[in-house]
Amino acid sequence: MSYLARRKFISRVAETLCAVAVLLALLPLAFILFYVIRQGIGSMNWAFFTQMPKPVGEVGGGMANAIVGTLIIIGIAALFAVPVGCICGIHLAEYPDTKFSSMVRFAADVLNGVPSIVVGIFAYGLVVLPVKRFSAIAGGVALGLLMIPIVVRTTEELLRLVPSGLREGALALGATRGRAVMTVILPAALPGILTGILVALARVAGETAPLLFTAFNNRFWSTNITQPMASLTVQIFTYAISPYDDWHRQAWAGAFLLVMIILTLSIVARLAVRRLERMNRT
């Protein structure tokens, strides 16, 4: 083989290997989704949504308390993470090049990489330890802390997608910075930011580790946020490592529900962002 032919051959082989790598990643994805859907659909029933967990060993029952629990906990998380994250994102988008902004951006990125279980310990020290009781509030704080960096970065990115002409126009008409942001720039990016927040919510709704010792778990119906509360993910974990077949079935149903919520939200978000990008181009 000539030198050139050999180089061309190597190039071909390498390119093929790259395509193989894509397949190697998509294979487990398909494998996981296939199992979650197959096992999940078969395990879903009305009782799953409406009934309480049955005592150990009894077949049947559902995760009604855990579903409501997850909603309450992520509600608490959103309550403080959304304002903090959004306003922080606005600051970063409006003053992108200051030293302070790049420090904050760095901190947000680093926080995003801190293991969720470590954030859980922080929430434990902050909320659980002083009152010596696991509570939904503690779980909400843990998830909120995990949400903040995601909300910060999506808000910033989406605000930057808003055509600069809009900002300049508002400022040229004599609007103050605050007014330009509140009445012109933010509304333009709002659909995108809202879906970004939904995605962040879906992301933290799938968290388990930080809830283990903050919201803990609860086999009973409870909407009291100062008490331990069940959540979908912790319930899946408890059921998955149990020896009972019926609990395994319910764990799959829970996983199916979780994955469906996340898939739907991520598709919605993708469409919203694409619309914003198109608007920007014209």
């Binding site: 190039s11 990643a25 922080c88 990125d109 801190v114 310990i121 605050g178 803990f216 998955a240 898939l263």
Partner: protein, 317 residues
């Protein structure tokens, strides 16, 4: 009339306070974790990191098996995930038809959206039995090698490394793709002009983005280090230092997840939180480095002045 300048200053400081909260959270985590682990830090000092015995009953705490398990599983995951992630990044940014680009990006990112607990569930019921079959099929002559020692349990280091690898791929590949996108096209064009093949041109682009690519790999490493649920569910949770892929082992995150609510006395709790503190420090360092590398690469490529295209008008002038 109100002064516009003072309004703007209020806005800047007002939003800045919220931005400062993010900084405070990071500092707060470090402070709180240190405060809550003082008992253990004072009692054991450095021997906490080298001690091999973890015995809550007699109050003896050594974290070495967990540190080993975390590092070993993450490194193994990285060995599997890095070539695949880079392959994906190269394929999507350099080779794939334009039409496939968006869907492939979306699909690989979907891997990152699946919750850890779902990976764990799948791991217990699908991956572990598969790995067990694989272990049973290991030819006898390999059994002598320390890497393949031990009974074929299914749960253990190999399962953990495989699941971690799957979970890390989307992070590394999406950053590496961004990096490749940021490599100025004149780098590739110059390579082609010198007669390079497609792969050689890609190698030039990879070389240009080297620091960013290293950053992408480190980002994946940071993810693997802190991953909790999926690993807890498949690694076997047995504190031992072993190089065997088949051996059930334990990680730092897993021991916190499993034992935190059982920690009856204060010293036990402080020992667990100290493990959390170390995990925090390691991930901050790894992530910080990775971000700096990625940023430096991105800002470097932004400063490249694009060469003006040769247009008929330019020639006429």
């Amino acid at each position: 009339m109100k002064m516009r300048g003072s309004d703007d200053r209020t806005f800047r400081i007002g939003t800045g306070v919220f931005a400062a909260v993010v900084l405070l959270i990071v500092l707060g985590i470090g402070f709180e974790l240190t405060r809550q682990s003082l008992l253990s830090i004072q009692k054991f000092g450095f021997s906490f990191w080298t001690g091999k015995v973890w015995d809550p009953v007699s109050g003896e705490f050594g974290a070495q098996p967990f540190i080993w398990g975390t590092l070993y599983s993450s490194v193994l995951a990285l060995i599997i995930a890095t070539p695949i992630s880079l392959g994906i990044a190269i394929f999507i940014s350099e080779l794939s038809p334009r039409m496939l680009r968006q869907p492939l990006t979306y699909l690989t990112e979907l891997l990152a959206a699946i919750p850890s607990i779902v990976y764990g569930l799948w791991g217990i019921f699908v991956l572990v039995p598969l790995v067990r079959k694989l272990e049973l099929a290991t030819p006898g002559f390999l059994k002598g090698i320390p890497l393949f020692k031990g009974p074929p349990l299914g749960v253990g280091m190999l399962s953990a490394a495989l699941i971690l690898a799957i979970m890390v791929v989307p992070f590394t590949s999406s950053v590496a793709r961004e990096i490749l996108k940021n490599v100025p096209s004149n780098q590739r064009e110059a390579a082609y002009a010198l007669g390079a093949t497609r792969w050689e041109a890609i190698k030039v682009a990879m070389g240009y983005g080297k620091s960013g690519i290293i950053g992408a790999v480190m980002l994946g490493f940071g993810r693997a280090l802190g991953e909790t649920m999926a690993v807890t569910m498949v690694i076997g949770n047995n504190p031992q230092v072993s190089t065997s892929l088949f051996a059930p082992q334990y990680t730092m995150a897993a021991v916190i997840a499993n034992e935190f609510t059982e920690a009856a006395d204060e010293l036990y709790l402080h020992a667990l939180i100290e493990i959390g503190l170390l995990l925090f420090i390691i991930t901050i360092a790894v992530n910080g480095m990775s971000r700096l590398l990625i940023w430096s690469m991105k800002s470097r490529s932004r400063h490249v002045v694009p060469i003006a295209p040769v247009t008929p008008e330019a020639v006429a002038a």
